[in-house]
Every structure is written in C-alpha cells, then in structure tokens.
C-alpha cells in the first residue's frame, strides 16, 4: 500500500492546454485562503450594515445583533465557501475566462487530506457527508446525555430552565437538520450514481457546494451556545410568537436552517436530474434499485417542501429584526399561520427522514435473504403513495393547536391512510424474508431491528393520528417516544445498516463483524430501555420539554437516563469499529455480499470515474435465485478483482 504522490491537479487537462497558473499558497483554494477571505467577508458584511444604518440615520450605527446576523451568518459563510474554492470554477466561467470543459482537477481522493478539500467526486462527497454528519450526531447525542442527566431526577440539578430548553432544541436541530437528512444524502451520494451506472452526479460542482453548506449550518447551530442568552430554546419547531421574542440565540436557528435547507434542496435537485438523465442504457424506471426509487421520491419531497421551512424561518426572523407582524395578533398577524407553514415542510420532512432508509432496507433485506424483493413494483408505487399522502397530513401536528375544527377529520383520515403504503413495505420485507437464506450479518441485524422498532414507532404514530388519543397524548413524552422510535429505531437504524452494508465498498476494507454485532445488540436493547418507558411517562401525564417534573415520574426517568447513557456508549463502539477497520481492517473483495446491483460490480473502492465504460443493464436489480439472471453487464476491466 503506497500513497499516490502523482500531482492529480493536472488531471483532465488535455495536452496542449495551457498549464494552470501557479498561485501563492494564500491564493490557492483551501483553508489558508478561507482563513483570510472569511474575515474579509465578515468585514464587508459589517460595513454594509453600518453603512446602511448610517445612511438611514439609525442609532446605534454599530448594532451588533444586525452585524452578527448579516456579517456572521450570511457574508462570512459565503466568504468561507469562496475561500475553500467552491465557487472557483463558476467564477472563471462567469467572468468569461477560459475554463476546461471537463476539468476533473478536484476529482477523487488520493490521500486522507483530500477529504478536507473541496472535491467534486460523488464518492468523496458521500464520505465527507457521512463523516461530518456523524460528528453532528455525536454532538447532538452528547447534548442529549447532558439533559438526560438533568432529567434523571426530579428537581433542578445542573442547568437552569433556559439552558435546558436550549439543550433540547439544539439536540433535535442537530439530529434532524445536520444528521439524519444529510446522512441519507451522503449515503445516496455515494451509492446512487454507481447504482445507476453513471460516472458522477449531474452537477458535481453543485454537489460540492451542497456539502460545504452543511458545516456552515451545523456551526451556526453550535455557535448559538455562545450567544448572549444561550442557545435557541424553543424546540426544533420554534413556534411563533415565542421564537420572535427570545434572546438572540434564536436567530442562529433561523439562519442555520436556511443553510441546511439550501444544501438539501441543491442535493435533491441534483439527484433528480441525475436519476432522470443519467441512467445507464437499459436502466428503465422499473429496473432501478429501490434505493434509487427511494431517493427519487425523497428528492421530490425536498424540492417541493423545503422552501416552506425557509419561508417560516424568514417570517419569524423578520418579525424579530424588522418588526413585521406576520405572527403578532395585535397588529393583524395570525399566530397559527406559522404552524401551518412550518408543518407543511416538517411533516413531509419526516418522510424525507425515513424514505431513503426504506430504500436501504430493501437493498439489505433482499441481498441477505438471497431472494428477489417481494412485490417490487408495489414497493415503488407505495413510495409514491407516501409521497402524495405526505403533503396532505401536515395539520396532524396541530390537532390541539386551535386550528379550524373541520380540518381535523380529513387530516386524521389521510394520516391514518399512510399506514397503508407503509404497511405494504413492511409486509413485503417480511415476505422477502420468507423461505430465504438469511445471512444474519451486521447490516441484516440492523435491518431486522429496524423493522421491529419502526413498527412500534409507526403504531404509536397511528395512536397520535387518532384525534382523541392525540388530544391526550400530544406534547407529552408519548410523542417523544414516537419521535425516537421512528427516528432512532427507524432512520438511525437504517443509517447504521447502510453504513455497514456499503462500508467495504467505500473504504475497500471490512469492518469487524464481532464488534458490529455487539454494537447492534447493545444499541437494540438499550434503545428500547431508553425510549419504551417514555410511552408510559407521557400517557400518565409527563409533558415534554420540561426540565423539572412531578416526583412520581422519578423512577422511570432514572431508568430512561441510565439506558440513554449505555446507548451513548454503544455509539463509541461503532466509532471505534469504523475508525480502526478503515485504517487497518482486512481488505474487502469487490462484492463481499454477492449483491447484484451495479455498485458491487466494480472494485472496492470504485475507480475514480466509476466505470471504464458505461454498463449495460439487462435485468431487474434483485434477481437472486433466478438461474443465469444478471442485472448489468460491465465491460472493460472494471470487474477484475482488486487483489485477485
């Protein structure tokens, strides 16, 4: 194993092209350039604010809230992106300077350092996404550990209530906006182009931009803890009008969500275009792996719904900094408008957070049962069913909110009906298991664990979908239990399954199966220990988002807290397994799971441009057990074993 030292920046330049201009180290894209462009842009933003205030004759001219808002949350991040070089190619193009039509200078990773630079290779971006989001997962989980310590006993021990609310809000925000959603985007980034037989995403540079907006969002969420008054403390839902009256930390949420949202829209757009225009010959829609289908539907949800959360956060911010009255009733505003707009995004968002997982599970179950997926077409159709229904149920988060009464019944029925397409998926997975040859390796364990916990979460969803039950259970720990059964038992389990499943393909190395199994069992048991009692707490009367609660709930909360600490420890096992296996695990074959989809037909890790020649698709993706069946035919060396 030798590290390659060839300067790859020459890559893609044709003979006869002028050699790229040499630039000083402070001018080359990267952290050094970012380290001066970012402050420069901060200053620019600051002086825009100051100049405007001076012109308008407002006092004080140096208003730090506005300066931090504009300079710190808008221009400085743009400066950072510029410095890192995300926009370089476009700037050349814009200014009409010559550009190399397909410049692959920033394609492929040749050393671990390349993962810290702007890269346009979908595989590298996928891994960048996954590592970054895992960092935010640990950060969000760490906050949960902190407030679980506070909640272990009734009474106030470690934090005051504002800090507590801040911890809860930041926990959920990190988990949702910079862990679950982008982690799926990361997995899909790695897998989808390969599965489609495409050399890359449709817009590789946009892809890089999407990724680099993510750390900006995460950094804003985390930085809110430094704001005077503490982190945003209004929950991840950040309801108006409370949110427009909170200390300054709230703005970090408003703006962080914009960055995360922009990133997510850009990626979704990229997936849609890739899936529509770049499928390999023979890859009809009905031959696409279900992971691709899942990301196709998810991306549609993202493109259509995400602008609504952008809108909702703009309004809250305007109400705060420009004294508008979107949600101030005294001045003609309408408070519940916020919730409608917010949930019009955030309900579809919960399916954004689980459909890609459904895709992963379909891949894993089929491969490890050695059987075709049961009812492939209905599986794809049910995704579309969920997509359509997802837009007609948002008000189930508002059954007790005081909205128009007549809206409740249709919203309840459509919500309940989502159980049907979801049930189709669950039963099809079960039927795929039937008479299969189940290989119970780690990804499969997580897949099976996923089905059992997600069903509990889905059923508790059905409880709260029923208006009378929701009236009792809303805003209690019952909902918290639901959230974690669908998001942890659902999404996080699928992410683990996917990470283990594609780990050999991503890194070219195998993980430690024994540690993987230990991780699964520890997670599975302590997950249930942590979150199952919450159903009881909630129904019995414990509201959510409280730092202090009635003494009678003390014992159960202690159980929950202890469970959650062990659950946290199980994450450490996972991290250890991944890091060590990545560094020196046994070398993986190109197709350790004997899967049919295209990504497994190239070497592990795949070559820089995926294929020497675009594969020809000749059949369905899950033809296990069908004699002689093939999904795709690859020509030109790609099939050769890496270390044969």
């Amino acid at each position: 194993m030798t590290s390659t030292t060839e300067p790859h920046s020459q890559h893609g330049l044709r003979p006869g092209d002028p050699p790229p201009r040499r630039r000083g180290i402070f001018m080359r894209p990267g952290y050094l350039r970012a380290s001066w462009v970012t402050p420069l842009f901060f200053l620019i933003g600051m002086y825009i604010v100051v100049a405007l205030r001076a012109l308008a004759g407002w006092d004080p001219v140096y208003d730090w809230e506005y300066i931090v808002l504009i300079a710190g949350m808008v221009t400085a991040p743009i400066g950072f992106l510029l410095g890192m070089g995300v926009f370089d190619y476009w700037l050349y193009w814009i200014s009409g300077r010559p550009t190399v039509a397909d410049d692959h200078a920033s394609h492929g990773a040749y050393s671990w350092k390349d993962y810290f630079k702007v890269n346009t290779d979908h595989k590298v971006i996928g891994i960048q996404y996954l590592v970054t989001t895992f960092f935010f997962f640990v950060a969000g989980g760490f906050l949960a550990m902190l407030f679980r310590a506070e909640l272990a006993e009734p009474g106030m021990q470690f934090f005051d209530t504002q800090t507590f609310n801040g911890l809860v809000s930041a926990h959920a925000t990190l988990m949702i906006f910079v862990f679950i959603i982008p982690a799926f985007a990361g997995l899909a980034n790695f897998a989808v182009p390969l599965m489609l037989g495409a050399p890359d995403m449709a817009f590789p540079r946009l892809n890089a931009l999407s990724f680099w907006m993510l750390p900006v969002a995460g950094a804003l969420f985390l930085a809110s803890f430094l704001a005077p008054g503490g982190a945003f403390a209004t929950g991840w839902t950040s309801y108006a009008p409370l949110a427009s009256e909170q200390p300054f930390g709230q703005v970090f949420f408003n703006m962080g969500v914009q960055w995360a949202g922009a990133s997510s829209i850009a990626t979704a757009l990229n997936f849609l275009v890739t899936i529509i225009t770049m499928r390999a010959p023979g890859m009809t829609f009905w031959r696409m792996p279900l992971l691709v289908w899942a990301n196709f539907t998810t991306s549609l949800l993202v493109v259509i719904a995400t602008p609504f959360i952008a809108g909702s956060q703009f309004f809250v911010m305007f109400d705060r900094v420009m004294h508008t009255s979107f949600f101030t009733p005294d001045n003609g505003g309408y408070v519940l408008g916020y919730q409608h707009i917010f949930w019009f995004y955030s309900h579809p968002a919960v399916y954004i957070m689980v459909l890609p997982g459904f895709g992963i599970i379909s891949e894993v179950i089929s491969v490890f049962s050695r059987k075709p997926i049961f009812g492939y077409r209905l599986m794809a159709v049910s995704l579309i069913g969920i997509l359509v229904l997802a837009f007609s149920v948002w008000a189930h988060h508002m059954f007790v909110a005081g909205m128009a009464d007549w809206l409740r019944i249709p919203m309840m029925i459509s919500t309940l009906l989502i159980a049907v397409p979801t049930g189709i998926k669950v039963f099809s997975w079960l039927a795929t298991l039937w008479e299969g040859k189940l290989h119970l390796s780690t990804p499969m364990l997580f897949a099976l664990g996923f089905i059992s916990t997600f069903v509990i979460g889905g059923l508790s969803g059905v409880y709260v979908a029923s208006v009378p039950i929701d009236i009792h259970a809303s805003d209690t720990y019952f909902v918290v239990a639901h959230i974690h059964y669908v998001l942890f038992g659902g999404s996080v389990f699928t992410i683990f399954a996917g990470l283990y499943y594609w780990f050999p393909k991503m890194t070219g190395r195998m993980f430690d199966e024994r540690l993987g199994k230990l991780h699964f069992w520890l997670t599975f048991v302590t997950f249930n220990l942590t979150f199952f009692p919450m159903h009881w707490l909630g129904l019995d009367g414990m509201p959510r988002r409280v730092a202090d609660y009635a003494g009678t709930y003390g014992a159960l909360n202690m159980v929950v807290s202890i469970g959650s600490f062990v659950l946290g420890a199980s994450v450490v096992i996972f991290a250890y397994n991944i890091v060590v296996s990545w560094a020196r695990g046994p070398v993986a074959e190109s197709n350790p799971w004997k899967a049919m989809t295209i990504e497994w037909q190239v070497s592990s890790p795949p070559p820089v441009f995926n294929f020497d020649e675009i594969p020809q698709v000749v059949g369905g993706p899950y033809e296990y057990g069908v004699p002689g069946a093939r999904h795709a035919v690859l020509r030109g060396g790609a099939l050769q074993e890496a270390h044969a």
């Binding site: 007790v400 009906l417 049907v420 039963f427 079960l430 040859k437 009378p468 009367g541």
Partner: protein, 345 residues
C-alpha cells in the same frame, strides 16, 4: 405456518400482558377521558394484532430460514403474489379507517357541551393561569362542578400555552389572537393539577394551576362565596388566592402577595415574603439596593421593572426574558399592591 402462528400468538400474549398489566393511562376523571380511553383500547387491540404478526414473522424467519454454514445458494426466486399484496393493502386500510371512524365519533361527542354548560374563561400568560367564572368571578384555582360540562374559552396574553389536566384527557392550546374552546365534564371529585404543555419559555415547566372538582352544591356555595368576596375587594380585582378564597377585601399587601403568586412572578424570582426560590430572574429581596444603583426612587424603579423590564437590565441577566406584558395584564390596583409588596410596605 402453524409455528408462525404459535410464535405470533405468544407475542400477542406478551404484548397483551404489557398492555394490561401496566396502568398506561391515568384513572379517568371526565366523560371525555372515558371516551379517549375507549379509543385508546380500540387502537391498542389493532396494534397488538399487527405487532404480533410482524414480530412473529421476524422471529420465525430468523429461526427457520437462517442460513446453514457453508450454504451459499440463493432462496427461491419468488417475485410477488398479487392476492397477498391486495390483502395487505385492503386489510390495513379497513383497520385504520375503523380507527378513524371511532375517532370521528369520539371527537364530535367530546366537543359537545350539552345544553347548559358552565362557561369558564381562561387567561394564560407567561407563566400563570387565571380563570374567570360567570359574574366576573376571578380565581387562580380551577374549580369545577361534578358532572356538569364546563366549557373553557381560552385566551393568551403573550405566547402559545396549552391547557391539560392529565386525568381529564382534554387538551387545547391557548393561542394569542384566537379564542379556543374545549369541554370537560368531570366525573369524580378530588384535586388535580392543570399543566401547560406547550413550550412557552423559561417557566414552562412550572406553569401549573391547582384544580378541584366539587359536588355541585359545594361548587355553588364556593362560587357564591367568591362572588361576595370579589364584590368586596377593591375594583373587583383578583381574589381567592391559591388557598382557595381565603380573605375578602384584604389589605394591599395581601393583594400584592396574591398578585405575585397569580402573575407567576414566583416562577422566576426568589422572594422571601412570598416563599419562592426560583433562580431564573434576580432575587427580589434587595430591591432597595438595586434601585439605588439605578439612581431612581424605589417605587418608581420597581414599577418600571415590572412594566418595562427591559428599561434597566440587572447585571448578569438578559433583556427580553421577563415578560413585557405585565403593564397590560395587571390592573393599576394590582400593580400598586405589587410594588408595595415588593418594597416591603
């Protein structure tokens, strides 16, 4: 197939035990909660069935179809089965629709206040509840008559709050700018706690109010007593502190103390005379010194601190934390009494 059924039945038995042996819902104290409990059990029966089938299939598959070592053949290439697929589309659809129908009936019954409800106005603000009975009787405690529907008309002065009495099931947000309603018909006497279940800021966790359900005659006499007390008190201001209507037309300091409790000041401030020890805002036992620091007369300073909390912000605290609505929600009498109470007069 038989084995699967056995496993599924076992799973069903275990889940049923979990469902019955644990007292999941609090003991019902209202007609509405009775119906909610019914809906809950209806959904539970369906859920147990679904869950048992799913778990039964997973456990059986793992047990029966687990691959033998050295076996690297594939399973049978079954691609689907239209009849099965139709079945598992239709049956869940019917089941959830039945849940929907039951729920719809329950909602409409639960929203029905009957012909002669008792109307109670609810005022929520950070972080206190106030109730007003017909005849302008104000109270900090919610008192309800047994078996008579009580219709709540709820308003909020600042942000969204939510009213919930766990044993009575019903829950409704209180939204600024909108008057929301719910109906509760208590079915047993006793004391309960009303809690705020919508995150409303710092004091959300402590925003509670005591609730008592009385026999109808007792309720009537309570109401009459409150009415008399209210008429006696200066300006018809709030009466009937948390103790439940103790004194009538008391001295200003009594009104001050009451207001301190009812306006929720104790949720944030420690103040010896009121016996509170919260730490969100500064302690109020040394206000004289603070007023000096601000260079203002004591009373004016206190009044300003209540009406316009952001005018002078105590070192180490944040502006915008203390609600800025007290100027509107407190009557002039209450304000004066509060200032007097705080300045120790």
């Amino acid at each position: 197939m038989i084995r699967v059924t056995v496993i599924a039945v076992l799973a069903a038995i275990v889940t049923t035990l979990v469902a019955v042996l644990i007292r999941w819902l609090p003991e019902s104290a209202s007609e509405q909660m009775d119906r909610i409990t019914f809906t809950y059990w209806f959904a539970t029966v369906i859920s147990i069935a679904i869950f048992s089938i799913v778990i039964g299939l997973i456990v059986y598959s793992v047990w029966a179809f687990r691959v033998q070592p050295e076996d690297d053949t594939d399973g049978p290439p079954i691609h689907g089965n239209t009849k099965l697929e139709i079945a598992w589309t239709i049956v869940p659809a019917l089941l959830v629709i039945s849940i929907g129908l039951v729920s719809a009936v329950v909602i409409s019954k639960n929203a029905n206040a009957g012909s002669d409800p008792l109307e109670v106005k609810v005022f929520a603000q950070q972080f206190a509840w106030k109730f007003e009975y017909p005849g302008e009787v104000r109270s900090d405690e919610l008192v309800m008559p047994l078996r008579r529907p009580v219709e709540f008309h709820m308003e909020s002065a600042d942000v969204i709050h939510s009213l919930w009495i766990p044993q009575m099931g019903q829950k409704q947000d209180v939204v600024p700018g909108v008057t929301t309603k719910i109906v509760i018909t208590p079915t047993r006497t006793g004391t309960f706690t009303l809690i705020c279940t919508e995150l409303c800021g710092l004091g959300h966790a402590t925003m509670r109010a005591p609730v008592r359900v009385l026999e109808q005659p007792e309720f009537a006499s309570w109401l009459a007593k409150q009415r008399a007390a209210g008429a006696g008190a200066a300006g018809g201001a709030a009466s009937g502190g948390t103790g439940g209507g103790t004194q009538a037309g008391g001295a200003a300091s009594a009104l001050g103390k009451q207001t301190f409790a009812s306006a929720g000041c104790g949720g944030c401030h420690a103040f010896e005379p009121a016996g509170t020890d919260a730490q969100i805002g500064p302690g109020l036992d040394n206000l004289v010194a603070d007023a000096k620091k601000a260079g203002e007369p004591e009373d004016a300073y206190i009044e300003q601190s209540i009406v316009e909390p952001n005018a002078v912000v105590v070192a180490g605290y944040q502006p915008g934390v203390m609600p800025q609505t007290f100027g509107e929600t407190l009557s002039p009498e209450e304000l004066d009494a509060l200032v007097a109470f705080l300045s120790g007069k």
